[in-house]
Amino acid sequence: MKKSIASLSALLIAGSLLLSACSSDKGGNSANESANTPAASPTASAPADSGVIQASDLSKLPDTAKQRTDTIIVGLTDPSGAFTPYFHQSGYDGNVSSLLYTPLVTVDNKGVPIPALAESWDISPDNLTYTFHLRKDLKFSDGSPLTADDVAFTWTLLHDKAYDGDSQIPALHVKGGEAYKEGKASSIEGIKVIDPLTVSVTLEQPNASALTTLGSDVLSKAYYGKDYKFGQLDYIKKLHEKPVGTGPYKLEKFIPGQEVRFVANEYYYKGKPKTEHFIYKTSEGDTWQFLETGEIDFASFSATQENIEKLKSLGFVNILPYTPSTYGYLQVNLEHEALKDKKVRQAIAYGLDRQSIYVDANQGAGAVANIPSSPISWAYTEEGINPYKYDPEKAKALLDEAGWKVGADGIREKDGKQLTIHYLGSKKKDTDIFIAVAKENFAELGIKFEPEVFADFNALVSKVEGGDYDLASFSTPLLTDPADGLIQFVDGEIKGYDNPKFKELYDKGLATNDLEERKQIYKELFQLANDELPVIFTNYRKTVYAYNGRIQNLDVSPFNGIAPSLPDWYLQ
């Protein structure tokens, strides 16, 4: 009697689990419809980004979100508290500091430089000297005035020998910068303060990206330079959590691991932002639950069919499609016997069904990439670019041409060695898809595929640096200037690729500030990269932002995130 009760109870528990899961599957089963709708391929000028999809029914907004009147909340993965620009170690801290500081020069949605704190700038004819003209009456968030001295101080500080951040300013070859770093000079020769509103900097060699790199955030000399002694930068650590800046918002409170609270900065040069309070809420992993319960107002999701449908069904969010300014690629070990040969690399590009992997299996949340540039950049082009459309026959022909003939067991070999590809990927859903499809693709080509997945990114990079791999999946960090996407080919990161023509073009591209000229140069560069394939380009991602339908004036810059438009946001 008691035994049957036991079995019955066990069944009940198991059954209730099943029932609750099934009953949650109410509202329409659109899973069936999501089948195989390949995304429209990007046109030459700009990707097929439609505009904002408006919220259908704002009354569905959760109460927590309805009750807020002057606060906007956005999710952020993990801000750690080091909010001083140039010194933070994590990208998320960068998100925070972008709200607290304004640069001298910013970029518009195409990546073209536009004025911010600097109302104009001059570039000397030899492209070596940049002179910035600051706006009048600029103030820091504590009310103190911002002058050219602060700009000069910021640039000098970054040349200190103890500087451990990742700003590119020290790499720009400012005149006298090297001497300062080595302690031989007490100031930098190339930096000149002409008057309180004008400051100029001279480089030793032209570099078009210097405009935005040097024209970045300004640190207050009075605040950040008070205890500055050459070679001693530890005092700055104490200032990380009490930033003084020029951004639209000031830091109100930082609750570690939970929230970063901001309050509008009345000294902001464009006038006080419309919404008084702003909060970055720490949210790891699935942000769905926070959006659905109204805890946050803004979140980003991969642009899969399903995500978009689900967002639409929520009813109270606007949906903004968006292509991030990065590209994904397979890093190739150019010292590998087979991969040295351009034909083999091209064969892989033809032989991998990238359309299936990155677009179809991803429900349309991506596009195939063929050049080292993001489709939203002003330099993007498809002229003269080989799309490497999936063509296993062509791939096989190329491999045969390269001398890799199919052996007895179906695997190609040359000089007695088999063609194996050792692939490294990091643990994510995309990698699973890649490995599964690539396995089949490579089998068809007669290549032995040995995939390896790493949960720990650091270990993966370390292995790649050690040369113990053949292919590895990466994606670039945020690219601001088109040169950013090319730097890895010239600075020695891609071992074994040393093409003087490439380097020549790269330098040329930075030597001028004329956009049209640069566009032509980059077109040539992209065609070169597309043909040689020093890395195999794979994909662009497509994402959507979903935000509380009450928020007006929302816009997201692909290069600067929400910071540029945030001062104009307000809740209806």
Binding site: Q289, T293, N458
Partner: protein
């Protein structure tokens, strides 16, 4: 007794030194270091940074530097967070402690009650139901239960918040703050308790069943003692003996944070911090935390052993 404690303390110190060296070496041997993960840097810049951080020195030298500082109370600066390690601990550990303390307390109380009643009514329907429920709780992964409950209770029924420690943007202080934290704490504590109660209750139940069968319990009943006194004064005390060993293990868990729970519920605890730091190879933080847990573990086991001797007079001291 005091000779025993002194001897053990000596062993403890030796073990801690050995453990810290071993742990430091393990972290240093893990492929990749703090600089490796940042793919924006050029190879020269990487070399420069390694120089600045002292990461290019041999392992033993780095250990010696760390040890010297640690013995003076300086656990260094977290490389990723740019803050002193001790400050970070202070900011995060107490959140973990809160969750752990409450759920441990609830776990033990619930387990003892359930275990006792089930043992007393062995083979009754209550006993069987409890046993099945225990088995069920022990048979599902914790993240599964956590996500499931979030989905049902937080998203669908909107009873409890889906995560975090306080409501976003809340300005509550004092009692209102306490209420809010309790509100947010409910779900994680429920999950942690469910996970922990199962095995402990079963353990206690088994122990109680054995003890109840003993002759001295029969004697106590025969003497006419009230059943409650028999159960609690005589049976429970003896049944708890083997469980005493487990108390010591709770000490490191109280401060170590639960990686899974904190991840799922976005609870700002030390476990989450540790996980992130490991991916970044933030050595000062990793060492500081691991050594702290090591110290607590060793103290915990010592505590366990002492308690065991104190509680069970039959165990001879050597």
């Amino acid at each position: 007794m005091s000779a025993f404690i002194t001897k053990r303390l000596l062993y403890t110190v030796v073990i801690l030194f050995a453990a810290s060296l071993l742990i430091f070496s393990l972290y240093a041997l893990t492929p990749g270091d703090f600089i490796t993960g940042n793919i924006k840097l050029t190879p020269e810049r990487k070399a420069e940074l390694r120089e600045i951080y002292g990461l290019n020195k041999p392992v033993l030298e780095r250990y010696a530097i760390w040890l010297k500082n640690a013995l003076h109370g300086d656990l260094g600066y977290s490389m990723a967070q740019q803050k002193p390690v001790l400050t970070l601990f202070n900011q995060y550990i107490w959140n973990s402690f809160l969750l752990a303390a409450v759920s441990t307390f609830l776990t033990w109380v619930t387990a003892v009650i359930i275990g006792c009643v089930a043992a007393y009514k062995q083979y009754s329907w209550f006993d069987t139901l409890v046993m099945v429920a225990i088995f069920a709780a022990m048979s599902l992964p914790s993240f599964f239960i956590g996500l499931f409950l979030i989905k049902i209770l937080a998203v669908d029924w909107k009873l409890l918040p889906p995560g975090g420690m306080i409501a976003t943007g809340s300005q509550a202080t004092g009692l209102a703050y306490v209420k809010e934290v309790i509100h947010h704490m409910t779900l994680p504590v429920i999950v942690m308790t469910i996970m922990g109660v199962g095995s402990l209750a079963r353990y206690i139940r088994g122990s109680m069943i054995d003890v109840i069968k003993q002759d001295y319990i029969r004697t106590a009943r025969a003497k006419g003692l009230k059943e409650r006194k028999v159960l609690f004064t005589h049976a429970l005390r003896n049944a708890m003996l083997p469980a005493i060993t487990l108390v010591g293990f709770e000490l490191p868990a109280l401060f170590g944070g639960s990686l899974i729970i904190e991840k799922i519920f976005n609870w700002p605890g030390i476990g989450q911090l540790y996980l992130t730091s490991f991916g970044l190879r933030d050595y000062p933080l990793l060492m500081g935390f691991t050594v702290l847990i090591a110290i607590l573990t060793v103290i915990g086991t010592l505590l366990s052993d002492i308690l065991y001797r104190v509680a069970d007079p039959r165990v001879r001291l050597q």
